[in-house]
Symmetry: C2
Subunit: 351 residues, 2 copies
């Protein structure tokens, strides 16, 4: 394809050598930011997700404020649940709730093909972001990965251990696989629309994938994420797969999804991850987001210590190991981005 030169972020994601590492933050358009808070004070959460103008405004705030190298579209991973016929409530306090979760094999039949009109605002937001940003800033589209979407459908909301999801998988393996397949097939057109609207990369969040025992992770979590990536077709943008919390010992399996990059949680050793899968995929991450509650000096040193683990010549994607906390002072997020962008990678060793 011709067109403008690829952004630093996309070049790194493709594995090309970069002069510095690009940086963004998971959940960077969120409650810790004053602009976001101001929009939310007058806009219910779901209205914000479904208003491309407002969603683009909050997505741009971290780019304008901190100069991050990529904007991620503001949306919620449960919009697709709603589009598939599973109603989701977003109460003013606490996380989203599903009033009638999927608890039996018969419930799985309630999950229908997605009504694209109910998620159309997300691609519209992507298009606005792509128009608003210069070519050197990437726009990231995203969705949940199939397992994580289904974990919410079964659990009815977030959970510490997703025990109902795990029990469902053991009790009703056929219905579980059917549910995962419906989710995977719904996510493909949703992500394709974001790509068509101009997303330069797509991130698949499998935040809770590792709650399943390793054998089931390899049986269901990875193949269903791979089915989505495969379904996006040959002309898709590069994909970043987040295998979730506690997946440190599953990186080889996660790398088999076909994603160009893996996003790592803070519980994963970055050096060990490079040793294990660093020649097969790019890696993104993975500072503990609670470091951003410490003083800027501590933040800067933590970023340097983290990036010292990246082997010379590899294009790392700097990020947090999970979403930024709402308690984070914005100036601490700025310190994180500044330290990441000031870091100069060691040159590749001579061949």
């Amino acid at each position: 394809m011709s067109g403008p030169p690829a952004s630093l972020f996309v070049r790194a994601l493709r594995g090309e050598p970069v002069e510095r590492y690009p940086v963004w933050m998971m959940r960077q358009a969120g409650r810790y930011l004053p602009g976001y808070q101001a929009v939310r004070a007058r806009t219910p959460f779901l209205d914000l997700c479904r208003s491309p103008d407002l969603a683009a405004e909050v997505s741009l705030e971290p780019v304008e404020r901190f100069g991050v190298d990529a904007a991620i579209v503001f949306a919620d991973i449960l919009l697709t649940a709603d589009a598939m016929g599973v109603a989701v409530e977003f109460p003013a306090t606490g996380g989203p709730r599903i009033g009638r979760p999927i608890r039996t094999p018969a419930d799985v039949r309630r999950v229908h093909e997605p009504d694209a009109r109910r998620t159309a605002a997300v691609a519209a937001t992507v298009a606005r972001l792509r128009r608003a940003l210069p070519a050197d800033r990437a726009v990231i589209g995203f969705s949940a990965a199939p397992f994580t979407l289904c974990a919410y459908l079964i659990e009815g909301g977030s959970s510490r251990d997703f025990w109902r999801t795990r029990a469902f998988a053991y009790q009703h393996p056929d219905a579980f696989e059917e549910l995962l397949g419906r989710a995977a097939d719904a996510l493909v057109p949703y992500l394709r629309e974001q790509a068509a609207a101009g997303a330069n990369a797509l991130q698949l969040f499998d935040t809770w994938g590792a709650v399943l025992e390793p054998a089931l992770f390899e049986r269901w979590v990875v193949p269903m994420a791979a089915r989505v990536i495969e379904g996006l077709g040959a002309d898709r943008p590069p994909v970043i797969y987040f295998p979730g919390l506690g997946a440190a010992d599953r990186l080889e399996a996660a790398a088999a999804t076909g994603a160009e990059a893996l996003s790592l949680d803070w519980q994963t050793s970055l050096g060990r991850a490079y040793a294990r899968v660093g020649t097969r995929v790019r890696l993104q991450g993975n500072l503990d987001p609670t470091v951003l509650l410490a003083d800027p000096g501590t933040i800067g040193r933590a970023v340097e210590r983290m990036l010292a683990e990246v082997p010379p010549g590899r294009p790392h994607l700097v990020n947090l190991g999970h979403g930024i906390l709402k308690e984070t002072p914005p100036e601490h997020a700025a310190a994180f981005v500044r330290a990441a962008q000031a870091f100069r990678p060691a040159a590749s060793p001579c061949p």
Copy 2:
């Protein structure tokens, strides 16, 4: 030492060849059992912990009902917090809460040397269990490991991600280390009393250890658990260390605590764990407790699949990968124990 022959459980824990694998279940004396429910209907939680007669009664129920190979003393890991001057409430619903958690370096000074009188009932319960059980059933004493105890002290209760604990570690490393040291030094006499009262093994629960990034796990979590084990002295019973949820990639570090065995969560591959540390320590675990919500046939097959991963000639300790769920039908726990005890290990390969 002379005395009665060691139980199957202790022989396996020492690494001796066994004709079958011993089995018990984390949290086996708990809310899923009718006898426990009957006691709790007339006894507040803390009164139960502090009544050796009642605590012994509920500890014995799974031995009598299922024939598990070991009884673990009924107690709560936060009894030591209370003994160190940090008051804990055990409300009728929900988990325990600490009214005034440790949130600043100054708070650490509130944590004093333990008042052994406030935990004396636990050793008394151990003594009753040892008297009540035949020599072929082991009695297990336990405590939290230092990091996990401190995580509760800082967080004020349980948490999905213990973000306050992680933030405290980054913001106040010296105070954090001081707090961990006080906890370690308080746990030593507590566990020694249980050993003196007749405990045949001790389990150290570091349930939340892996929430810290790997470098801090190796800096604080492991050395503080090792300090407790070392402090128990040369005549201590064997120790089982539970490095907690999400520690699959940290088994080598966990094996460096000096414990005779590691208890594994269900997110860990048992076969891979044996390949990594199986010649250095024994392994305990690790069926997903949600399997026990499925039918007995499924439970039996899952046990066989799990135990097929144990290399021939190694004495495995069968358990769940986390505490049994309160939703578990008792007859499903029976099916788990039956399947574990019916399994015949393959003979060791000829030398």
